[in-house]
Each structure stands twice: as C-alpha cells, then as structure tokens.
Amino acid sequence: MQWRNSVDGYGVVAIALHWLVALVVVVLFGLGLWMVELTYYDDWYRTAPDLHKATGILLFIAVAARLVWRWLNPSPRPLGRPWERRLAHGVHLLLYVLMFATMIAGYLISTADGRAIEVFGLFAVPATLRDLPNQEDIAGEVHLWLAWSLIVIAALHALAALKHRFVDRDATLERMLRPRKIQTRSSDD
C-alpha cells in the first residue's frame, strides 16, 4: 500500500483525508443552512446545531492533520501550464485559509459567552476569545460569508479538476482517486 506521497502521486492517507474533508465541508455547509431555518418544535432544532458544531471541531482536527501530513510528505508534481500551476497553488492555499477561517468564526459564535463546545460527549473545546462587543453576531455574519466563499472556491476547484480530466486529459483528478504512482499522460505518449 502506497501510504506516503511521491512526486508522481498521492498516497492513501492524503487521498483519504482529501475526500473526507471535501465530504464533511459540503455536509456541514448544507447542515448549517438547513439548521438555521428549523423552527422551535422541529425534532432537529437542538440536535442539528450540536452535530454541526461537534463535526466542525473534528473537521478542524482533520484539516490540521492534513496540513501536517502535507509538510511531512513530498508534493506530487503539479500538472498543466505554468499559469495553471500557479493558480492551482493559490487556490489550494485559499481553500485552507477559508476552511480554517470559517471554522474559527463558527467557534467564536458558540463560545461568545464563554460556553464550551461539546464534541459528542467525548471532550469539550473551551472558549478563548469571549465577550467582545456583539461577538456572536459579527462572528455569525463572517461565518456565513466565509462558508459561501469556501463553497464557491471549492466548486471552482472541482470544475478545474474536471477540466484536467476531460479537456486536458491529464492525471490530475485520477491521482487524487488512486494511490498508485501514475505516469503522466505526456510520458505515456
């Protein structure tokens, strides 16, 4: 099993973390938009926000783990034209920044009054920054806008991957799906 990354492709760990984070980001986005529309007598009125917050904390850990793994491993060689590679790198960086910023803003809503965030009864994340003027309202606005930005940028990221697959016909998408060393198409030719 190819656990680690190589210059030619991603290992199992990087691939698994990538898709896990992608799935959870999309689920949390939908869950977040849905839960704020729930009314008082909905079954999920209390559980949906709890689930959203706890999953957000776990996502934070997963994204942090991804970054650590990224630093400990070689990066697969980017494919495409030079401007595409620069753009891709910038977008990847932006996605990380948006993910962390969104999660931190969300954390600042729920902990604005000093309450901790419970994670499925396993542990609790205590408040740090608290009692700033209108903290929960400002953090709430910021959280929503960051989440939308993240989803839009992630959609562009996905479209770009599809463009590599169907227009450029290179291995960009494939190597995020399969953990073996894939030769780039140009070297196959």
Binding site: T39, Y40, Y41, P49, I109, S110, T111, A112, D113, R115, N134, Q135, E136, D137, G140
Partner: protein, 192 residues
C-alpha cells in the same frame, strides 16, 4: 430688566408656594445601573426564562402635587438584549424575533398616569417595538424617594406589564405557553 424682575417674582413664588413648583425632572440612572428593563417568558410552559436589555436611556418627570402630570420617555437599544446565552441572543436579534438591524430601537412614551392613592398607579403609553406602536398599560408601584448620600435626590418606581408578542409582529412559534412576555421595569431617576 422686566424679564429679570419677572423671573425673580416667579422664583419667590415657587419657593414660598410649593404647589406652584414646576414638575420635577429626573434622568433615569442607567449610568449607575439603578434601572433595569427585564423580561420573562415561559419556556414550554415548564419554567420561566429571564432576560434583560442592557442599554437604554430615559427621563421622567413627577410632581407629588400633580402626579397626573407625570410622564416618562424611554429608548431601548434592542441589540443589547441579554438572556445569558450568546446563541439565543443572536437568534433573538435576528429576523425571527426583534430584527434589530431593521428596528434597532424600541421606545416608550407615556400618555397618562393615574395614581390610586395606595402607592400604586397605572401608567399608559405608546410602546414602539419592531416598528409597531401600541398602547400598553403598566402597573406601577412607587418604591421610594429621597436624598441620596452624595448630595442628589432620587425617586424610584417598579412597573410590570404583559405584552403579546404577536401584537408586535413577532410570531415565531415558541409554543402556546410562550405567546406573551412579562416585562418588569425598575426605574430610579436622579432629579435634575
């Protein structure tokens, strides 16, 4: 010259004939937080939930000789709602409840004051909340008045009333027991 003389005459009259004194004007002591706008509402019909508005200001005038002329005016910063739970307060400030972005202030302006002679009174006035103005009637109790230890003169009242949320365009369903909220107003004024 004439004006000065007139003023002097008036001043003498006011000092010698107490009944002629002008209404006493008070500023509500929000600076020292000796005034509170609190509310309570039932939670599911099982318990009372308490909250308050931290930022407001107002003035009242009260003349013991002519209590029927008493009046009060209070402006409340709706975003200052505090129910001791940030997520709930955020919800209360939102469109489901007070929509404070659109309606940042609530206002109460009295229209009548009727004393019952036993230290209680009924205060009537127009309450503007979430853009809706309605007449409300507040049961008032005169708590006390007199000099304070720092050279001032204070007077305080307690008031209670019940409002129906729907009357003020708030119809988020909190359950049948929670359609009304009780307001408890504690007001201490410093005489100017």
């Amino acid at each position: 010259m004439l004006r000065k003389k007139l003023t002097a005459v008036l001043m003498t009259l006011m000092l010698t004939v107490p009944g002629l004194a002008l209404a006493e004007d008070y500023v509500i002591d929000t600076k020292g937080a000796h005034a509170f706008i609190q509310f309570r509402i039932q939670h599911l019909g099982y318990s009372w939930l308490y909250g308050r508005f931290n930022d407001f200001e107002g003035t009242f005038s009260y003349d013991e000789k002519k209590p029927e002329n008493a009046s009060i005016e209070v402006t409340i910063d709706m975003a200052s709602i505090d129910s001791n739970h940030a997520e709930r307060d955020k919800h209360l400030r939102g469109e489901d409840f007070f929509d404070v972005d659109k309606f940042p202030e609530a206002r109460f302006v009295s229209t009548a004051f009727e004393e019952h002679g036993d230290g209680t009174a009924t205060l009537t006035g127009d309450l503007t909340l979430k853009g809706v103005t309605r007449s409300v009637s507040i049961d008032v109790q005169h708590i006390g008045h007199g000099e304070d230890p720092w050279g001032g003169y204070r007077r305080g009242f307690q008031g209670t009333t019940t409002i129906t949320l729907k009357d003020f365009n708030i119809d988020y369903n909190l359950g049948p027991a929670s359609r009304t909220a009780e307001l408890e107003l504690s007001v201490e004024g410093i005489r100017q």
